[in-house]
Symmetry: none
């Protein structure tokens, strides 16, 4: 069901004429293709189903390429998460501006979130976290991709709370942690019951709370 959203290569700049892969090819292209393949495999097949074969098959190249370019499967997976995460974060940053009211902010976020959910990019994170217990090496890489989001969310919260009377009292860091955890939890729960209106309902709750907060004056 996930809609296709451009994976790596966040920008739309014209890519140079794609040479075919093989001897004398552009190594970056292969790497990019592998990363895209890893992303789509993680989304479609989950962490357990994401094997060298599955990735190489999707990338249309040899399994050995994974080792040649990334040194191993897990390293490729981390790279994939990084690319995906950075791409999405950039999108969020460009779509949210400082002068939005709390209500506007939440509306904007909801739109982005739906993009995430539908494209499957959120799933990437939860799938990889699921692999941590079996493969602890993943942890560090995941954390690195996670961290920028937290500072970003915290910042947004700080900014938004300016328009609220008791704003300065809000523990923006903890709230950021809460919001981020909640998003992840919702994603996981969606996997269980496929009940995608859960996020809708929670956003409605958010709008309600935002309305209440704003009406309490700046």
């Amino acid at each position: 069901m996930p809609k296709k959203v451009p994976e790596s290569g966040e920008s739309e700049e014209a890519t140079p004429p794609k040479r075919k892969r093989g001897r004398g090819a552009d190594p970056e292209q292969t790497k990019t293709e592998l990363i895209d393949a890893a992303i789509s495999s993680l989304i479609d097949e989950g962490y357990r189903g994401t094997t060298a074969r599955s990735i190489a098959g999707r990338a249309g190249c040899n399994q050995a390429a994974i080792y040649y370019h990334f040194g191993g499967i897990d390293d490729l997976l981390i790279a994939a998460l990084k690319v995906s995460s950075q791409g999405r974060l950039a999108r969020y940053k460009s779509a949210l501006s400082d002068d939005q009211s709390l209500t506007e902010l939440i509306a904007a976020i909801e739109e982005l979130y739906v993009e995430d959910r539908e494209s499957g990019h959120l799933s990437l994170l939860t799938e990889l976290v699921g692999g941590i217990t079996a493969t602890p090496e993943l942890r560090q890489g995941i954390e690195a991709s996670t961290e920028p989001w937290l500072t970003f969310v915290e910042e947004r919260i700080k900014q938004a709370s300016k328009s609220v009377s008791f704003g300065k009292m809000l523990p923006s860091k903890d709230l950021a942690d809460l919001v981020f955890s909640l998003v992840i939890g919702v994603e996981l729960r969606n996997k269980v019951d496929g009940n995608f209106d859960r996020s809708d309902r929670l956003f409605r709750l958010g709008h309600l709370a935002a309305g209440l907060a704003e009406s309490s004056g700046s």
Copy 2:
């Protein structure tokens, strides 16, 4: 790191004289041992690392026993989740009473939650959810074990909100959903950074909010 907490067999009643396992033995004991083994394997090795070998090894019996008693690994896994989930839910139900104030309630829950987190029983759920993408058959079983928790949380919220002035306005079902999702999200995030004080901080936030709510009068 998870502390050992008795898995199946919620009660502490003296178990009847344990016959040795083997041909002609008590099958229930073997089943129980397999379930316990599955639980501990899921906690220690994750979904990906929980193989027939790993389970049978922990249970001290032959891999074939898994198939004899449960028909397959996934079936054993959801049986394990069910046992674990029911056991924990019973514990929650017996530990929380109707006449607790909101603040008391939260304090009680925090205690139980720490038990969950430390024993690893919460991890069971997230590990299995991680397997859904690769093995969709798990979904139904997970959902079945999840559902009772939601109704339980909802009831608690309804009960607790009576002591709050605007309590009747609260969408208890959505809040239950939110709380449950948040717990799951936190568990997942803990796996990433091992930052176990996150829950402490969030509970503090909860206490704060509870205090605010209660001070607004009943």
Copy 3:
């Protein structure tokens, strides 16, 4: 597709009131059920697919019963072949009489053969022979079930050739061998292409030859 034809118990005599199986049951009944199960499993699943599980499942009893009653799977299989073979042979003997002309004889045989083919009883033999290479112990048992057929066929040929001028010159033993081998070969070939009109065409050839032979005078 094989039509059901009563397996063991060649006669239609009233069977004594069937007690259920279990402690104090009639051992003969269990044996009979196991044999019938083995026959149908060989027909449906082939030699490779005929496992203890498959047989016991069809017989509705425990796998251990096979060992208790027959000592092993192969022994049960041999017993099954024997029962099936004897049953069919009895049917042939009762359906063919001495005073049939060659043409009548062939017509009668065709009818019986179609029974065999459709019920799958012929398949029993070829499936078991397929197992000989892997399990040489089968050989003797199969040979024992095969031998009576050859003497029977030889006798029929001898009798029938009396109505043919050059009848005494015919090497009836070799011809019996030929006919029997041909039947087996046809059965095997049918498995490959499912072309069941092959036997029809060959019987037509037989009728032609019979007509020719008879027209040459007695």
Copy 4:
């Protein structure tokens, strides 16, 4: 008991300098070795005994190679049948010529047949057919290897019947079917009783009939 006869590689031309097997080796050699191993395993151990282990062991390579090169055991098996069948058919074609009398033809065939029987190549076919019930996927492959033989036999019969007065009346297609089925049936019967003079006796019968037919004028 089967005598060794070169399996694949019908010609005796000097094979190019055989590189050792292993990473980066000539894949054709590995494939050939696997096919030869499959053939000899089918002959020696039968269909039931022909496992990945047995084949890889005989080929001196890893079981996984079977899957790498053929995708699965059954596919390797039908590849083996194809190679064997084509090799033998080529041998037959080169050994039989148009200008042979019926008697000469039968004599020539007898010689070839003895080769088949002794080398075990005929057994290949019957073993695989025995597997059809359990593994229907084999059917198509077997049929494909079978079909050329039928057209070949039919042609031979047509050609030979020219030297017989009533030759044009002969239903060569049905006769081809009969002959081929008979050969298969005889092979199977040989497995049961090890009575290898059966074919001798049948060939004698054939010679007799041929003599009769030829004496009836062209």
